[in-house]
Each structure stands twice: as structure tokens, then as C-alpha cells.
């Protein structure tokens, strides 16, 4: 369920693809028709076999009743979709905070010279710790620990802790993505900017970061796909979001169909984002191949 194992390898996404890639799709029509046909046939065969194995399995009858129950599905679906609005809020707020915090961390880590050592050091420690500790633990520690301190005026509602925990966890990964982007901008760009009299910060702001951010948009989107899914982890501290809601329904109905409904919701929102990422990646590859002429 969790993506917290780490961000997808960004080096692959920044790499220049083979220039032949985009051309192949435009190959001779007869070859294209034939390969489409082969793809369709092999897909049908593979899935046919899988379905056949599943429905002929000895326990299929019970699984069908407890996972694919149409009545339960119809009854549970509105509640589940309604609960998903909380995931969307979590995701939307955390995403903005992550973009800002991660950028600050990445910039701190890229500042050269002994003066900035403390900032570099803190940012490094931060990334190390939050990538090391399993996300669920961060959520538990914040969600139960901070309110448990009993400090006056501190919120007892778990929602803010959920947002903070997701932000802290994901900023560590996203800062690495930004950093890869910053380091992929050739030092001659900074030299050119500085030689014109721009300060180090101006060079970063106007020359390096715009190029870096453009290059890391696809891996950033990938991390946000992970974040979207990981919003279910905050159900552990009592936020009644989509996963907790499906759990409630499951326990009431003694039926697992609500989980399937939840899965469907995630598929519906994630696939468009995944496709968008793919499109951006292949557009970048084409561009890189074109400029490497």
C-alpha cells in the first residue's frame, strides 16, 4: 500500500532517450497494424488465462460474495467517495507545503562554502532521518505524541498532524528530486550568471532553479502519485478518510467490497496523473534528442 520505500529513480527520467524512440511509432503502416494485432491477441490470451484460473479456483464463490458484492458496492460507494474529499484536502494542502519546504531544503543543501555548513548539515540530517523512519511511525509519533504533550492551545483534531506528517515525510524525498535537478544544471550556467554580476542567490533564482524545476517535473509528479496514495496512512491516527471509511463499512457489513470500491477510486484518480507523467517524460526525451542533434 505504501510508496514510502523511496522516490522513483530520477536519473532514469533525466536521461536522454534513444533518438529512435519517437520515430518508431511512425513506422510503416503495415508493421504498425501487425504489431497492434499481436499486442491485442497476446493481451486477450494472458488475461483470459488469468480470469479462467481465478473463476475456477476452489474458493472463488466465497471471494466473489465477499469482494464483488454489487449491493454492498452500491450502498457503500457514496460514503466512500464522500470520505475521499478528505484525502483530496490532505493531498492538496500537503502538496503545496511539500513543494515549498523541499525546495528550501534542496537550496540549503546546494549552498557552497563553510558559512552555510550549518544549513547544509541540518538539511542533510533532515533528509536522512525522514527517509529512514517508516512513514507510519512519523504519523503515529506526531499524531499521538504531540497532542499527548497536553500543551495548552494545541489542536486535538488529527487532521493538522496528518498534514504535517505527510509534509515532513515527503519533503525529504522531494528535496532529493529538486537536488538532482539543481545538480543537473551545468556549472557553466552559474559561471555565466555570476560573470554578469548576479549574486549567488540571483543566479539560483533566475538561472539555475527555473532550469532545474523544469527538468524534475516528471519525477515530482511521480512522488505526488505516491503521496496521493499515502494519504490513507493517516487513517491510523483517526482521520476518517477514504480507507478508514471503507474499513468502517466493511466491519458493519462483514464484506470486503468497500475496499474494492476504494481501490477503484484510487485507480480513477491516479491513472490520469500517471499518463500525464509519461507524456511529460517522453516529451522531455524528444526535446533532449532534438537538441542533441
Amino acid at each position: 500500500m505504501s510508496h514510502l520505500g523511496g522516490p522513483l529513480d530520477t536519473s532514469g527520467m533525466l536521461a536522454v532517450g534513444p533518438p529512435g524512440g519517437p520515430l518508431r511509432a511512425r513506422g510503416r503502416p503495415r508493421t504498425a497494424v501487425r504489431s497492434t494485432l499481436v499486442a491485442v491477441v497476446s493481451t486477450v490470451v494472458v488475461f483470459g488465462i488469468l480470469v479462467w484460473i481465478t473463476v475456477n479456483a476452489p474458493g472463488w464463490a466465497e471471494v466473489q460474495v465477499s469482494f464483488f458484492n454489487a449491493t454492498v458496492f452500491t450502498n457503500a460507494f457514496p460514503d466512500i467517495v464522500a470520505a475521499f474529499s478528505l484525502n483530496i484536502q490532505l493531498f492538496a494542502i500537503a502538496e503545496v507545503l511539500i513543494l515549498v519546504l523541499a525546495l528550501a531544503l534542496a537550496v540549503f543543501r546546494s549552498l557552497p562554502g563553510p558559512v552555510f555548513f550549518p544549513l547544509r548539515f541540518l538539511a542533510t540530517i533532515y533528509a536522512d532521518i525522514f527517509r529512514a523512519v517508516p512513514g507510519v511511525l512519523v504519523i503515529y509519533i506526531l499524531g499521538f505524541g504531540i497532542p499527548g504533550l497536553g500543551l495548552p492551545g494545541i489542536p486535538t483534531d488529527p487532521f493538522p498532524y496528518a498534514v504535517i506528517a505527510l509534509t515532513l515525510i515527503y519533503s525529504a524525498y522531494v528535496s532529493e528530486v529538486y537536488r538532482a535537478g539543481i545538480e543537473s544544471v551545468h556549472p557553466s550556467q552559474e559561471a555565466a550568471a555570476r560573470s554578469l554580476g548576479l549574486s549567488r542567490l540571483q543566479a539560483l533564482r533566475y538561472v539555475i532553479l527555473p532550469q532545474a524545476v523544469r527538468r524534475v517535473i516528471p519525477p515530482l509528479l511521480n512522488d505526488f502519485i505516491g503521496l496521493q496514495k499515502d494519504t490513507v496512512l493517516v487513517s491510523y491516527i483517526g482521520v476518517v478518510e477514504i480507507f478508514r471509511q471503507s474499513q468502517i463499512t466493511q466491519q458493519a457489513k462483514f464484506n470486503y467490497t468497500p475496499y474494492m470500491a476504494t481501490a477503484l477510486v484510487f485507480i480513477a484518480v491516479t491513472i490520469p496523473l500517471a499518463r500525464l507523467t509519461d507524456i511529460l517524460v517522453s516529451r522531455d526525451r524528444r526535446r533532449a534528442a532534438a537538441s542533441a542533434r
Binding site: A192, L196, G197, L198, R214
Partner: protein, 261 residues
């Protein structure tokens, strides 16, 4: 505000544009500059020649404070720019540098490449910066390219934009580092023409180059750099016709054999 104030007090006509004194620079064990002394007068054009790896680029980068010195002093228009407490950003404003690989900003249009520093460093109003940039682009035949991005330009056009970008800061000294070395042969001439035009206009320039014919035409003085030292320097006629040092002779011999002179 703007160019005039930031250039500081106008140096007396006799103050050299650049004085390099005993400059040493090493990268680890490798001593690249082993005591460079060099003076460039106002409006003078000095060409640095020498084998690849002799330290030409390093010297230019040191003058622009892109590399810290190990020892020595650099004085620009009477101001010691290596003195403690000197604002490097202010110094670099007065010294333009153009690189072999152009180093244009790929995410910006030609116009934005040229106006970025005037806007952000000299704090010119955008309209003012644009007017000045367009005048410069016009002067070097690039006005119709103002909206293009660098990757849509030929190498020669890119390098001319890079020169215009440096000129937009109205530098008192322009450093050119093998600005034609990355160009296809048929594009070299347009860039050299720009530099000739600048020389006619009285721009003070220190030029590292492999174009010996060009150096002979344009330079007031040619310096031969060898193993981190200026082995020999003099007017181009003397340097190319009757070089004194044996190593200079051998270098020019090799250049001639390669058909570059």
C-alpha cells in the same frame, strides 16, 4: 541609477584597464598559472595565444574572479579587485566575459538573456533595459531574433547574443575565451566581425584565441602563454614574423602546419 553610477569614478586616461601582478593558480598539484604579469591599457586589444592547457582560460576566469587566486594581485581600472572586502558582484559588472561554449540561458529568449543582468543587477526599468538591448541586438544584426530561444539559433548567432549579453552591462573590459572554437568554420567570420567592430569602437579586450590570422589583424599586442607563464609578448608583427623564444617559434610552427596561420 544605472550604468553610469556603477562604473565608479572615470579612471584617468593613463590608468591601465587591467594590471595582473604575479598571479599564481594551482588546481591540486597542477600549477596552471606560475606567476603571470600583464598590463592592458585603456582601449588596448591584447591576444593570448598558447597551446591548449597552457592556462589561457584559467587566467581569464581569474580576472573575472570566477577562480580565486593563490597569490598575486589583479587591478582593474585602478582598483585592486583581490583586496579583502571587495564586492565581487560589483567588480564583475564592469568586466564582461564570453565563453567558448556561449553559455546562454536556454530557458530564456534572446531578449531576456540580454536584459536579465541589466534589470536585476543594474536595476534598470524593464522598458529601459529592453530599449538598450534592442539597440545592441540591432547593431549586431540580431534584432529579428529577440523572441527566439537559444536552441533555435545557429552557433554563430548564439555567440553573438552572448557577446551582446556581456555588452549590455557596459563593461570597461571584455574578456573573450576562444569564442570561435566551438563554431563551424563558416560561422567563425560573423563572430570575428563583431569583435573587430568592438575593437574599432575602442573596447578594451583581452582575447584568448587560436585564430592567429585574426590575432595578427586585431591585436595591439600578443602574449604567448607557456606552462603558466607569459613567455614572450610584443606587437603582432614581431610575434608572428620574428618570435624570439624557441618555444614560441615551435608553437607557431605547429600552428602553421595545421593551416591556422
Amino acid at each position: 541609477m544605472g550604468g553610469e553610477g556603477s562604473r565608479g569614478a572615470a579612471p584617468a586616461a593613463t590608468t591601465p584597464a587591467l594590471v595582473v601582478e604575479g598571479v599564481h593558480k594551482s588546481f591540486g598539484q597542477l600549477e596552471v598559472l606560475a606567476g603571470i604579469d600583464l598590463t592592458v591599457a585603456q582601449h588596448e586589444v591584447v591576444c593570448l595565444i598558447g597551446a591548449s592547457g597552457s592556462g589561457k582560460s584559467t587566467l581569464l576566469r581569474c580576472v573575472n574572479l570566477l577562480e580565486p587566486l593563490d597569490a598575486g594581485r589583479i587591478v582593474v581600472a585602478g582598483e585592486d579587485i583581490c583586496a579583502p572586502g571587495v564586492d565581487v558582484n560589483r567588480v564583475r559588472r564592469r568586466i564582461g566575459i564570453v565563453f567558448q561554449a556561449f553559455n546562454l540561458f536556454p530557458h530564456m529568449s534572446v531578449l531576456d538573456n540580454v536584459t536579465l543582468a541589466p534589470r536585476k543587477v543594474l536595476h534598470l526599468a524593464p522598458a529601459e533595459a529592453t530599449t538598450r538591448a534592442l539597440a545592441l541586438l540591432e547593431r549586431f544584426g540580431l534584432a529579428d531574433k529577440q523572441r527566439e530561444f537559444p536552441d533555435r539559433l545557429s552557433g554563430g548567432q548564439q555567440q553573438r547574443v552572448a557577446i551582446v549579453r556581456a555588452l549590455a552591462m557596459e563593461p570597461g573590459l571584455l574578456l573573450l575565451d576562444e569564442v570561435t572554437s566551438a563554431l563551424d568554420p563558416e560561422l567563425v567570420a560573423e563572430v570575428l566581425a563583431v569583435i573587430r567592430e568592438l575593437a574599432r569602437g575602442g573596447m578594451t579586450m583581452l582575447i584568448a584565441t587560436h585564430e592567429m590570422g585574426f590575432a595578427r589583424d586585431i591585436a595591439n599586442r600578443v602574449c604567448f602563454l607557456d606552462a603558466g607563464r607569459i613567455l614572450e609578448d610584443g606587437p603582432p608583427e614581431q610575434m608572428f614574423r620574428a618570435p624570439r623564444a624557441e618555444r614560441t617559434q615551435r608553437f607557431l610552427q605547429r600552428v602553421m602546419e595545421a593551416g591556422r596561420l
